[in-house]
């Protein structure tokens, strides 16, 4: 976190490009009215503009920024993401971002082990692009070969799939959980280093357990339902340990997080939060009619 704090912009964005990078994942490139800076792990609230806006925006991690163009990766899971998937070049959205605390920067203890599951890819991919060095290891987990954005990942990422179906002949993929793949890579790395992860709760918990077992540092990007996204409504709390408050306290996920040290998270409470019951649908959503 060596870079100066950035301004959070509330502005309009116009869709440059929007379409699938794999069977389940879509990439959205948005041109904003002004350039923005971001740090890997930060996110933005996106919404329709004007009278068709949803009551609340939807949070999405920032994949990349190039001047005034911001890129996101998303999966259709409900009303808001379905609307995103319908957007065409020139359509307008509102953007509030960047928001939240990022992952720690280049000074983390190396090597870094990055773990991204599905739409958890953007913050860790952004970190690798900005601060990755030789010796760092990146693992991405998809549902099957069709779900993996092979071109986007390039050669820097080791890939795991739950089902081997659809893995192209010129690529290899580990058959199993991405955290099993990560454990295997960690065993071969010169540690202890730092684990940085983003994905569904079981992935986060497994990554935290792995890091704790091997005595690596660990930072996780958490998800919670959000209202405002900028710290004013207290609609997005997650339970964290805090020496000042017994036994734990509610931290505001959008402004104190979404990135937290794994050791601070109270898993028994966080894992049971009813709001997180379904964060990823069991099956890919239906194709567009």
């Amino acid at each position: 976190m060596n870079e100066p704090a950035t301004i959070t912009r509330s502005c309009r964005g116009s869709v440059l490009d929007n379409g699938p990078v794999s069977r389940g994942l879509l990439r959205l490139d948005l041109r904003l009215e002004v350039p923005v800076n971001f740090l890997p792990g930060q996110f933005a609230m996106l919404n329709r503009s004007g009278g068709r806006a949803f009551v609340f925006g939807r949070p999405f991690s920032i994949l990349a920024v190039d001047g005034d163009t911001v890129s996101f990766l998303y999966r259709v899971v409900g009303r808001g993401t379905a609307v995103l998937a319908e957007l065409e070049p020139g359509d307008e959205l509102t953007f509030l971002g960047p928001l939240g605390r990022p992952f720690p920067g280049p000074d983390v203890v190396r090597p870094a082990l990055l773990v991204g599951g599905g739409v958890g890819l953007p913050p860790v991919a952004a970190w690798l692009a900005r601060w990755g060095r030789d010796g760092d290891v990146a693992c991405f987990g998809g549902r099957d070969g069709h779900d993996v954005p092979w071109d986007l990942l390039g050669s820097d990422w080791a890939v795991s799939v739950d089902e081997t179906e659809g893995v192209p002949a010129d690529h290899t993929a580990w058959h199993g959980l991405v955290t099993e793949l990560a454990a295997d890579r960690l065993a071969h790395a010169e540690g202890p280093g730092t684990v940085l992860a983003c994905g569904p709760v079981p992935l986060l918990r497994a990554a935290a357990d792995l890091a704790a077992r091997e005595d690596w540092d660990c930072w996780l990007s958490l998800e919670e339902h959000m209202g405002c996204g900028y710290g004013v409504c207290k609609g997005c709390v997650v339970p964290v340990r805090d020496p000042a408050v017994s036994p734990w306290r509610n931290a505001t996920c959008c402004s104190e997080g979404p990135v937290f040290p794994a050791a601070d998270i109270v898993w028994e409470v966080y894992g049971a939060q009813a709001s997180l019951a379904v964060t990823e649908p069991e099956r890919p959503p239906k194709e567009k009619p």
């Binding site: 502005c11 509030l96 207290k234 939060q273």
Partner: protein, 316 residues
């Protein structure tokens, strides 16, 4: 937007409410803009800030002790608004006075402090502590007594439904607040809000704020159970605008000054409250969606010929 001919007030010009002069008539509503300190690094594409033209930030409600709030989920989005069950999560009056109030003063944020308690005497105690700690604050303009939060089991909305209790709470706070505006925030979940407004005014309130959220419930059809762990939540947003307008009209008829809150999404909605006689308005749910909502609305309501430069009213 073209402003109607009857609208001649500059909402970003100072106006008097009770013993205080407020910098403007467009405020943010309690619980929807935190303590007013989370948006100092937010700016629009043209550099305007959430504080430009703002008349006051009504803080998140502060209680005698810190409160952790309700379990998640705390928000449900509906097509016409939102249900919330935050449960008054707040830092408590001691931490508020020690840390938040000085930060607001230093940031130059025009502030109304929202207070809630379960007994009238507690309102008195908190008002006295505030008066003590805030004596030198020039940006602290007033207190809003939250007599209407539907998300707290003790107290809760029943508390604010009884005119005698409303009067007792107002009177308890008033004696300690000689030089700050005192508002009572009323629940809409009653048949006759005018009676409550009159009780508050007779006990010394300078105005009432109306409305707080409407009690609501959403059912998850997959499970057949209410979505919110505590079943009920507070309904806010565009869907409650007509309810808020009707309640404000009733209060104006009762001869009590009123700050209109509920469902305001843009300048036209705010004008509807002013048309009925509201002295100021507050923006809640829309402010959550966009930190510039109230500032945009204020700029949009400046009558032709009275231009408002960013940062003119105050400079946080």
């Amino acid at each position: 937007m073209n402003l109607p001919a009857w609208w001649t007030i500059d909402p970003c010009a100072p106006f008097r409410l009770g013993p205080r002069e407020f910098p403007g008539r467009i405020w943010t509503a309690s619980g929807c803009f935190g303590y007013g300190l989370s948006a100092h690094d937010v700016a629009g594409a043209d550099g305007r800030t959430p504080y430009d033209g703002l008349g006051a930030v009504v803080t998140k409600t502060v209680t005698p002790s810190p409160r952790p709030g309700n379990p998640m989920p705390r928000l449900v989005e509906l097509p016409t608004g939102a249900l919330n069950s935050i449960g008054l999560e707040n830092v408590g009056i001691d931490a508020f006075l020690a840390e938040t109030l000085p930060a607001l003063e230093q940031g130059g944020v025009p502030t109304v402090v929202s207070l809630a308690a379960t007994r009238p005497q507690e309102f008195g105690t908190m008002a006295a502590a505030l008066q003590d700690a805030g004596a030198g604050c020039c940006h602290w303009h007033g207190v809003e007594l939250n007599l209407s939060c539907p998300n707290v089991a003790e107290g809760g909305h029943d508390f604010g439904r009884d005119p005698d209790t409303v009067a007792a709470c107002v009177a308890a706070a008033r004696v300690h607040l000689p030089d700050r505006a005192l508002l009572a925030k009323l629940t809409p979940n009653v048949a006759e809000i005018g009676i409550l407004a009159r009780a508050a005014a007779d006990a010394g309130a300078d105005a009432v704020s109306a409305i707080n959220t409407v009690v609501g419930l959403e059912v998850d059809l997959a499970t057949g159970r209410p979505v919110l762990p505590r079943r009920f939540g507070g309904y806010s947003g565009p869907g409650i605008l007509p309810i808020a307008l009707a309640k404000v009209d009733e209060i104006v008829s009762a001869g009590v000054p009123v700050v209109g809150v509920g469902g305001i999404a843009d300048a036209r909605d705010a004008l509807r409250f002013f048309a009925l006689g509201a002295v100021a308005v507050q923006v809640g749910t829309s402010q959550m969606r966009d930190p510039l909502a109230a500032a945009d609305l204020a700029a949009g309501l400046v009558p032709d010929g009275q231009t408002q430069e960013p940062g003119q009213t105050q400079d946080p």
